[in-house]
Symmetry: C2
């Protein structure tokens, strides 16, 4: 079985959302699976000195336009959330915790959370909202999820995941690693496809 | 005659160089020309808070790898310069000044300067080097160019060009505007091609 594609993302990243809607079809075309790795971009930004794109002069206007245009090009439903960016600790912890016992349920919850935020205007930084979405997606009792995301091991797990991501070179979202080769950005999906097909160029 | 493609770039930008090798073929396919607009990214960075990619933790390693990989994918000769980034005032002023009287000569000099830096390892921040390259490319006496780039109107012209670029939204290099639609990055060349073919999506 060839190695999965590592897919690092933050739940507040529009480009992460767009790529999450496309990466599985690319992976499965080449007999690969996707290993979703939620991280907190805020921790990465402390290293890189970056800020959320929409808050940056000049880049803010461009990026809002590019989010919409990229979504149309990829055919992915997208609505710029009113509240942006948001805290994503709870959503990240939920997916991380669910992945430990049921990867499929975690994947379903991940898509549900991303779509709720970027196409249905829901505020997934609200813990009750995030937990309810994950509970329905994963068929898990909401109280169990709510308790898990506040537990020390899960909190530590996300901190460790962030450290491991930066150790792997992750500098943004989405950040995809294919057989050791890193690709940053949803505009690299075609290159990921090509790399998988050819083994490099 | 349809409007030219505005192509904003800094001579120290690897992605600007890569795109400069491809944009004319895309433009001419659609009956367009390219209006090359040299700017100083340092001035833009003061607005956006950005820094040269290679100096940024995490992004530095990624970008050096991506420069090479992007160049191979596009089939453009590329060698990472030992001295990077460099000051590009002189090269920018040369092309700006030449454009006023002979657009074709300016275009030839632009390619010559970019290739000297990114494929032949020459230091075009050295005024004598930049002037000599432009003199040969444009068939102009070196002394004439050297005097022009130190003249107040040409210096003012570049300052004005930077201001105009930022007023047009330019937030990086290359930054291409097609019929009012902005595209940032050499990884947007396919989108520029598609936009020209379809008028948008």
């Amino acid at each position: 079985m060839p190695a999965p594609i590592d897919f690092y993302f933050d739940f507040s990243s529009p480009y992460g959302y767009l790529a999450s809607e496309k990466i599985e079809a690319i992976a499965s075309k080449h007999g690969r699976s996707v290993d979703y790795k939620p991280i907190l971009l805020g921790v990465v930004f402390k290293q890189t000195g970056a800020a959320p794109l929409t808050n940056v002069p000049l880049k803010g206007d461009y990026s809002r336009r590019d989010f919409m245009r990229s979504a149309r090009l990829l055919g992915v439903p997208f609505r710029m959330p009113d509240k942006f960016p948001i805290s994503t600790q709870v959503a990240a912890r939920i997916v991380l915790w669910m992945s430990e016992t049921n990867v499929e349920a975690a994947r379903t919850a991940m898509h549900e959370l991303y779509r709720a935020y970027f196409s249905r205007g829901m505020d997934i930084s609200d813990p009750a909202t995030a937990v309810a979405l994950a509970a329905q997606a994963g068929g898990i009792e909401a109280g169990t999820i709510a308790a898990a995301v506040e537990s020390a091991p899960v909190k530590d797990g996300l901190r460790r995941a962030n450290e491991e991501a930066m150790a792997a070179g992750v500098c943004g979202s989405p950040y995809m690693i294919v057989d050791g080769e890193p690709f940053w950005g949803s505009d690299r999906l075609d290159q990921v496809d090509r790399w998988l097909a050819t083994g490099g160029w």
